[in-house]
Symmetry: C3
Subunit: 258 residues, 3 copies
């Protein structure tokens, strides 16, 4: 009997205290006009400001001025939100005006994020945020984490403006990233990917250069669609056992899509 | 019976492992002459150096040289410590010589802090630290946190030198800040506050600009006393349901004062 | 009986959820040629790339180009890894090419790290990583942590190239560091050490200057062997009760060596 009890209590406790990508059951929908929605993945929240204050707008360092802003923020994740934002700008009349990456992840090794969309019409800003929130279910699919770190893989057949702004991705070409934390693993992911097929390495970020001091190496690749995908998959195959060597088998935060 | 037991164990466990702003019961008072005191809020510690080594002083990048230093440090919180330091410089013969904000909060989304006071006389440095430690009980009052993030609101009817140094607050005028984490929520707080009354937005910090890469947007406001207070309260009313949408109802770390 | 059960469950749970410097039992050795080994201290992993891709090499900002790279990465700790790397360069034909410090520690107040070694021959790169991984058992010895922060002390009788690169240590002379988190404690450690014996204070880093925004003050000392050691020991004696004032008695992560 006592073993059962121990298991039961353990299950309850681990549910409450283990590292989570989101906070489980959301509360009631807030009665605030700015609220668009949330996604439990990454503690992501979507907001909209229909007519932003002009003094505030002037301080926000946005690329262009729009009166309506869509805002996507998250405690955990920048890659998933940026790839989701990329789909949002493809699908709507909104632009991406700024992308900032906090050193966050609720104690993990990576980034949180703040993405600001702009649109002439608040319905377009809202729509961009809605699309991005929904896309997160997919873009969290190839994040694999354990207590010692995480791996992230992203891929798109056609990069748009969010990926151009965040990573310098060439517009319209296939694009992907590999991320490893602790950063040592990310170095090997980068080397594996660039050797696996004929692609262009267009970015390399490490704790002291190009990240927000995260314990990650982020490599970015552009090229033909099949080649980029093959490179990302090769890196994933090498990365999983390396991260597993530091702890438990890493698990996907959602459903893998690559 | 077994349900009772589960609850009992859960209570014990959560007491030990849930995120805390402080570490509960302090140990015995250390027999170290530099020790002034602690405040469990934010794991805050107050220290004093009666006659600082001159080589060390030369490396500390302080605004002025004093032989006696008061030191206030914390794992969690920068706003509460800075507002508390502001009361300390009003109440004593000490000056604020430097304010630094670490990316910390024991895994949360915000800042820890290091405030250095200087005085000609060690008793003045000590007094400044004592006042600041005591003020923390108040200045943690309008911090509201859940597992997904936090909100912070601060207000003073009359800003002094610590707030001038940290935020560029005009001396002698009412001053307040709104802070939201994840940063997306902080954008809406800023917009709400600046629209709620006739005040001056004098600062806007975000993950990539003006913070230590925290997942926060911090807005700073100056103006007439009633107007600043009204703006801060309006932002708090909008922020609470937004943060609650990501998790549990946020709770005050102490007793609200605004 | 129920008390026993509570204790038993508590022990299980705390094992799983309490802050750890490593992840306990590693998984099976990964079948990846780049893998060298791990050390559970700091979630440290050692990797090697026999013949690094030239495009990647060009982006890695290394001091010199080598075709074989050794890589040491960790979630928790930079001091232990750098002092371990220093032993590795003394003992092998490898060079240290870069040292980066992430803002990490799995939610703690300090740094994670990424150290890259280079060698003409992959066996030399591998050997450097192996030596460094093994040295971590020693260099984690004078790290003392509780839930409120940590202290770190390191000492070597003869500094080599890794310590020169990371801290500007004069080659061949005795060298040591004191680290305190929250940073306030580190200020007192620095002052105590520099007053305790005739040594040179050659570095002082704080949250806003010289760290990766960690909540630490790191002081670096050079001088005669006995004097540096004596200074470090004096600082440790003052630091332990100060950190204990914020929580439980700090415990060594391994076996103290100073």
């Amino acid at each position: 009997m006592s073993e059962d009890l121990v298991d039961k209590v353990m299950a309850e406790v681990m549910k409450k205290v283990s590292p989570r990508l989101g906070d489980g059951a959301p509360s009631a929908r807030p009665a605030v006009t700015e609220f668009v929605g949330t996604n439990r993945l990454g503690d992501s929240i979507g907001l909209v400001i229909a007519n932003v204050d002009s003094d505030l707008l002037a301080m926000m360092r946005l690329e262009r001025d729009y009166k309506s802003l869509g805002i996507l923020g998250a405690r955990t994740g920048a890659g998933p939100q940026i790839f989701a934002a990329d789909e949002a700008v493809k699908a709507t009349n909104a632009e991406v005006l700024s992308i900032e990456m906090a050193r966050d992840t609720k104690g993990g090794a990576g980034h949180g994020s703040l993405v600001v969309f702009g649109a002439e019409d608040v319905s377009d800003a809202r729509r961009a945020v809605e699309v991005a929130l929904a896309e997160l279910d997919r873009t969290f699919g190839d994040i694999y984490a354990n207590d010692a770190g995480h791996l992230e893989f992203q891929y798109t057949a056609r990069a748009s403006y969010a990926l151009q702004k965040a990573f310098g991705a060439p517009l319209g070409r296939a694009f992907g990233i590999t991320v490893g934390a602790p950063a040592a693993i990310g170095v090997v992911l980068a080397d594996t990917a660039v050797k696996a097929s004929t692609i262009d390495l267009i970015g390399y970020s490490s704790p002291a250069h190009g990240t927000s001091l995260t314990n990650e190496v982020i490599a970015a690749f552009s090229g033909d669609s099949g080649a980029v995908r093959q490179a990302i998959i090769a890196a994933r195959e090498v990365g999983m056992p390396l991260l597993a060597a530091l702890g438990t088998q890493p698990e996907s935060a959602s459903t893998p899509y690559i």
